[in-house]
Each structure stands twice: as C-alpha cells, then as structure tokens.
C-alpha cells in the first residue's frame, strides 16, 4: 500500500499517523508538502493529519482547504482513491467540500483531550472492515472544535445513506446526544463520503495502536485500509 500524509504548516500529528501506518503496515508513508500540486505516483491512501494547520486561525481547516495540494486530493477522491482526514484533517475535508457539514467549537467551549468510546456504525467500508459488527472502541480525542454541525437536511441524508462511520457513545454503549462530549449533532464522530472512500473523523485512532501507550483499538482501522488495498 502506498500512503501519503499531507503536511500543512501547523500540522502536528503527521508523525503520529505516519508511525501508526508504519507500525501496522510495515511501510513508511510519503510526507507530502502542502505546496505540491501532485501526489506521489501510485498513491492509494491520502491522510490529512491532525494539528493546527495555519494555527487554526480564521476557522479550523479553512486556510489549508485552499492549499495547492488539495486539487490533487480532490481528483484522487473523485477517482475513488481513499482519503482519511483525522481531527484537523476532518476539518479540512469539510472546509474543502469533500465532506458535508462543519466542525465548530466544542459545546463547552474548552479543548478536550480524553479517551472517548465510539460505536463503529458499519463494517462494510474500506476503513472499518476489520472491526466486529457493532463494536464499541476506544480512541482518544484531542480537539477544541470537534462539534459536528450540519443542517437538518444534510444530517437526514447522512443518516439515510448510512454515512455516519463512528458515533460517540456512553459507557453503556448507547448514544446520548445531550451528553456527547463536544456537542456533536447526532453524536457524530466520523462521516463518510457518498462513495465511502473518504472518511473524516475527529478522534485519533493513530494514538491507540501501541499497547505501551494505551489501548490498541485504532489498529484495526489501519489494518482495514491495508488489507483492503492488498486485496485490490
């Protein structure tokens, strides 16, 4: 599998995701500078990492979404290539229109770093096929603006088309939209594009791949992608 991790000024979890990819797949991903206009030939997966691209100034992800490399990402996605946006990467995908909706400030207005429980909503996607059906997993969140918002029509469409990939749940495994840690609509933690080849999610699977530093629930996400591409 050939993965490319984009690097914007102010990205800061590119190393974490590159390390996770290496850990799980054994292959070092390419790091691609935002000012490039093309992805490395043969790229299967594009990752938009977490961080504070452009300081999160103006709106999170807004300035990065207009970077030169994003044209290539758009084309890659249109071809059906896989795109994974984590945290700031998710914000960039929304700002660039590759995913609908927007991530606004956490309802309690504070940055929050903690482990969150997530329900894997479907396992027939390139990103989740190694999870068990209905699995509840633990990924950490680390964001100040992860409160997913979209208009009612968009939300209805996302739900109707089964495009919610991950949802925050409570300790009992059930969702409670009134208690969700960041206020996200419908407890949404991650969503998919129409063709299921673009995933944006706020929590950080890349920080839960190594037993030495915590749970390893994030591994299966990277294994899913790798396994999927091997088969292809």
């Amino acid at each position: 599998m050939k993965a490319a991790v984009l690097l914007f000024p102010g990205s800061n979890r590119e190393g974490d995701v590159a390390r996770a990819l290496k850990h799980v797949t054994g292959v070092e991903p390419a790091i691609v500078w935002h000012a490039e206009t093309a992805l490395p030939a043969g790229t299967d997966l594009v990752v938009l990492p977490g961080g504070f691209s452009y300081g999160d100034y103006l709106r999170c992800g807004a300035i990065a979404a207009r970077a030169a490399i994003m044209e290539a990402v758009r084309a890659h996605a249109a071809r059906g290539g896989l795109v994974l946006g984590i945290c700031n990467g998710f914000q960039i995908l929304c700002e660039s229109g590759l995913l609908p909706g927007v991530l606004v400030r956490n309802a309690r207005l504070r940055f929050i770093c903690r482990e969150a429980l997530l329900k894997v909503e479907r396992i027939d996607t390139p990103f989740t096929r190694r999870y068990a059906k209905g699995a509840v997993v633990r990924f950490p969140v680390a964001h100040g603006e992860g409160n997913y918002t979209a208009d009612a029509e968009t939300l209805a469409r996302l739900e109707g088309e089964g495009r919610v990939a991950f949802r925050y749940v409570m300790a009992d495994g059930k969702r409670d939209d009134t208690q969700v840690l960041n206020g996200a609509a419908n407890s949404i933690a991650g969503i998919l594009s129409e063709k299921l080849n673009v995933l944006g999610l706020m929590p950080h699977p890349e920080n839960h791949v190594d037993p030495l530093v915590g749970p390893t629930d994030g591994r299966a996400l990277f294994e899913s992608i790798a396994g999927m591409l091997e088969k292809a």
Binding site: A62, R66, V102, V104, A107, R108, L109, T149, A150, D151
Partner: protein, 80 residues
C-alpha cells in the same frame, strides 16, 4: 481604503459562545442583557481607492475564505 467585513452565524445556527457570554454577564451582575451572539469582524485595508473594485475584492475574499457560507453570513461595510 478601509473596509470592514462582518461575519456572523446564520440565525438558525446555535451559538454556544454567545450563550456562555449571556450566562457570564448574568453572573457578573450586568443587568438587562437579553441575548448575545458572537461573530467576527475583519478590518481590511485595500490598495487603491476604487470602491466598486474594492467591493468586488471583498466579496471574493468572503466567498473564497472569510466566511463559511454553510453556517455564516457576511456583510461588507466601508468605513472611509
């Protein structure tokens, strides 16, 4: 030439910051505030003095970058 761009949340969009400020003002004992909504203001200096051109520039800036029209609206004002 100086202009001001105001970017505010659409009225249907929830504004937790505004709500928090309302609460904080109440607990600080500032009376008579019924509601607060928070937005952004950009003070922009433009080259040249052609106001039609300036307006076009600002409109482009808003559409391309300054506002996320999914949740925000913008307004352009000239200050002098």
């Amino acid at each position: 030439m100086k202009a001001r761009v105001l970017v505010t949340l659409k009225s249907a969009v929830l504004d937790p910051q505004g709500k928090a400020i309302e609460g904080a003002l109440r607990s600080l004992g500032v009376p008579g505030v019924a509601s607060v909504r928070q937005g952004k203001v950009f003070d922009v200096e433009l080259d040249g003095g052609d106001s039609a051109k300036a307006e076009a520039t600002l409109k482009e800036a808003c559409e391309k970058l300054l506002a996320n029209t999914v949740i925000e609206t913008y307004r352009i004002e000239f200050v002098g």
